[in-house]
């Protein structure tokens, strides 16, 4: 999966247009009803999706499309119900382990035939691995985004700091920020997953991509010394007081004002954090991005790049139209359009698409295509099985508040590992 991603991203960096007209049979006669369920409930993505569906409908005027936008958090629990009873024809979801329960229960349609078409198979090679279970593909990606440290450029300039390239610089920067009366990082762990991001990066940098994936697959005990090393590194930051106080009370959005007001200098987040930071009044001169620096120089850099996806439920009524819709979504032109700065502001999945000229998208794309040689992970709660992910993130939150509890946390995670796998 990773070598494919690297290869295709490299290909994308050098070739101009490769995808070509993916809509080869786009004008085949489609009719009937097409029911689409979306979890893109935030205003900007919602408008993007509705516009995209309208453009698809314009190509197929005989199709009666019914769109249902569900709140993103509520969607995560509702999907179980609507996949088993009264399924839509197309539904959004997430790649990797997050889709495994539905694949194994036979609720997602096998769409390997779409990838058999070289025009799609090659254009989507970068995300094919994340959508593959048992050598079959179960959906298509429509967007993905980088993770990394978003920081207040003006504060760094004021203190004379530069983007760190290794762990020592990272900590020295943090100490300088702390000495100036600010916190190094804002974070809100109320909904747990933000702590998963920190664990991902610390573990990827300490032990490398392959070890991280072995841990995700349950092949390494949580009490392993290498895992402890990751936590030891994390603890250095905690003991310095690098994170804002009371982070367990905040959601990720509620943690944003600390950065906006300059009380915290950085935020380890996905690229979706840029839009609210800009909305809050920060200009691009004030925010910048750097890749999480190396900790162990012997391991290759690896990144989190979560992928959001479209699937066809197994019980869909109009699978022909659903397949045509999926093809339309991943077509090069549509990918360029929906991922540009005015729409999702993320990275396109089609190798033939172009990345919008945006400070953060450019940096993210360059990072993923050139400096993520170790591999690309999805995210903690998408790579690890649901139960392990939940317990793990809860443990991370506890560790961030009470680092002395590490032994009991790891023992607990180890017991859960023994049961889950």
């Amino acid at each position: 999966m990773n070598s494919i991603l690297k290869a295709s991203l490299a290909a994308l960096a050098t070739t101009a247009v490769l995808g070509g007209p993916v809509l080869a049979d786009g004008h085949a006669k489609l009719s009937g009803d097409l029911k689409i369920f979306l979890d893109t409930s935030n205003p900007a993505p919602r408008a993007t999706m509705e516009d995209m569906i309208a453009r698809f409908n314009a190509l197929h005027p005989d199709l009666n499309i019914e769109t249902n936008v569900i709140d993103r958090e509520a969607y995560k629990t509702q999907i179980r119900n609507f996949l088993t009873a009264n399924a839509p024809d197309v539904a959004t979801w997430y790649a990797a382990n997050r889709m495994r329960p539905y694949v194994e229960a036979g609720l997602f349609e096998d769409v390997s035939d779409l990838y058999a078409d070289p025009e799609i198979g090659e254009a989507l090679a970068s995300t094919k691995g994340a959508l593959t279970i048992d050598d079959k593909q179960w959906g298509v990606a429509y967007t993905y985004y980088q993770w990394g440290v978003y920081y207040r450029e003006d504060i760094y300039n004021e203190l004379g700091l530069t983007e760190p390239s290794n762990w020592e610089e990272f900590k020295a920067n943090c100490q300088a920020i702390l000495d100036s009366g600010r916190k190094c990082f804002t974070i809100g762990t109320k909904f747990l997953w933000t702590a998963g991001g920190w664990f991902d990066y610390l573990n990827l940098r300490t032990n490398g991509f392959d070890f991280h994936m072995q841990l995700a697959a349950g092949e390494v005990p949580w009490t392993d010394d290498r895992v402890r090393q990751t936590f030891a590194n994390w603890r250095e930051l905690i003991d310095m007081g690098a994170f804002i106080d009371n982070h367990a009370s905040y959601s990720w959005q509620e943690a944003l004002p600390f950065m906006v007001q300059g009380d915290a200098a950085g935020y380890l987040m996905g690229n979706f954090a840029v839009a609210p930071l800009r909305d809050a009044g920060l200009t691009d001169d004030q925010i910048d991005f750097y890749q999480f620096p190396a900790i162990n120089p012997d391991v290759a850099m690896a990144e989190d790049a979560p992928t959001d996806t479209f699937h066809i439920p197994a019980q869909a009524q109009n699978k022909d139209a659903a397949r045509a819709f999926l093809k339309f979504v991943v077509s090069a032109d549509n990918q360029t359009l929906i991922n540009n700065g005015e729409n999702l502001g993320q990275l396109p999945v089609n190798a033939g698409s172009s990345v919008d000229d945006d400070e953060f998208l450019n940096q993210g794309f360059e990072m993923l295509s050139q400096n993520s040689t170790g591999g690309v992970a999805q995210f903690f709660d998408r790579d690890f099985p649901a139960e392990m992910a939940k317990a793990g993130m809860e443990g991370f939150q506890e560790f961030m508040v009470k680092p002395d509890n590490l032994d009991s946390i790891l023992d607990r995670l180890e017991r859960i590992r023994a049961r889950v796998y």
């Binding site: 958090e73 995560k76 629990t77 179980r80 996949l83 088993t84 329960p101 539905y102 194994e104 229960a105 036979g106 609720l107 762990t189 109320k190 909904f191 747990l192 106080d245 009371n246 982070h247 367990a248 009370s249 709660d381 649901a386 139960e387 992910a389 939940k390 809860e394 443990g395 939150q397 506890e398 508040v401 607990r412 017991r415 049961r419």
Partner: protein, 309 residues
């Protein structure tokens, strides 16, 4: 007059239909039938289904696998389960504070001054608004950086305390939020109860020199016994189903320290990462057993009162 009725009586009386004969006995059952049917379908049947599911390992999607008592065995070693159980106990005990609080507000409001109805409805207001709104209001109140609570304790040189982010205070903080509407509920129960207090007995007590606490304890409270009973029942039930406040205010956190059994059951079985229907059902069964203790007590008490009455 009697003559007029005679011709009809001369004929054999028409046989009354089965329906006519049994109408009196059947009518109540017919009226009860829809309610009873739904109660069976949505309450009784799921109880037995929960018992059944608790013996399986099932992700809610695929095949269920019979595992016998393994889910219960696992509960014995589950720290999170004990945390939830302990929190349930705290909820049960502290939530009862709503009863005396409601009583005293009711006594306070049981007077005839201008616009007393307005004051009563203002005190009743928190019970009318949604629990979700109560939860949101209190989570802003507790906010460690800009919440009123920390401004307030700051006056005394205390804080800041992240009530909802600190595992020592989080359950107490949520219970206080829950007491706000629950006190209003108990208050309204006592207000209606106070209307039924016999003024003659009050007068008689007064003549005998009772006042203040003695009057309350020996004369008023015994007459409020039915209201106290109902207040006790609804408060215990309210404590056991404390779910929405926890879900909105902390989502069970920090690190699961504010969970109660109902929330933990939801989390393992139905939430974002929950795929363990069997384990969730096992927790539900335990919660049901605890509730059974109360239900049995209430049934027994009601039966006894009926016999006496």
């Amino acid at each position: 007059m009697a003559d007029a009725a005679l011709p009809a009586a001369g004929l054999a009386p028409p046989p009354r239909s089965w329906w006519k004969r049994n109408q009196q006995t059947l009518a109540p059952w017919l009226f009860l039938a829809p309610g009873a049917a739904f109660f069976l379908l949505y309450v009784i049947f799921p109880i037995f289904q929960s018992f059944q599911v608790s013996f399986y390992q099932w992700d809610g999607l695929g095949e269920a696998e019979f595992v016998g008592l393994r889910n219960y065995d696992e509960l014995r070693y589950d720290d999170a389960f004990y945390t939830s159980l302990w929190n349930n106990v705290i909820w049960l005990v502290l939530y009862l504070a709503a009863i005396p609080a409601g009583l005293f507000i009711a006594l306070f409001l049981n007077q005839k001054v201008f616009a007393i109805r307005l004051y009563k409805s203002l005190f009743f207001f928190p019970f009318v608004i949604s629990q979700v709104v109560v939860a949101l209001v209190f989570s802003w109140f507790y906010d460690p950086t800009f919440g009123l609570f920390n401004e307030f304790i700051g006056i005394f040189g205390l804080g800041p305390v992240a009530v909802l982010g600190d595992e020592r205070y989080v359950t107490l903080g949520i219970i206080v939020a829950g007491l706000w509407p629950q006190t209003a509920y108990c208050m309204i129960l006592y207000l209606t109860g106070l209307n039924a207090v016999d003024p003659e007995q009050i007068e008689a007590g007064r003549l005998d020199g009772a006042k203040g606490w003695k009057m309350l304890w020996y004369v008023v409270l015994p007459q409020l016994k039915p209201a106290t009973f109902i207040a006790f029942v609804v408060t215990v039930i309210g404590a056991l189903r404390s779910f929405d406040l926890i879900s909105v205010m902390t989502n069970g956190g920090p690190f699961g320290e504010s969970r109660v059994l109902a929330f933990y059951m939801f989390e393992v079985a139905l939430s974002e990462y929950g795929f363990r229907m069997g384990y969730g059902a096992a927790i539900a069964v335990i919660l049901f057993m605890i509730m059974m203790v109360y239900i049995a007590f209430f049934l027994w008490k009601m039966y006894r009162d009926e016999k006496e009455g």
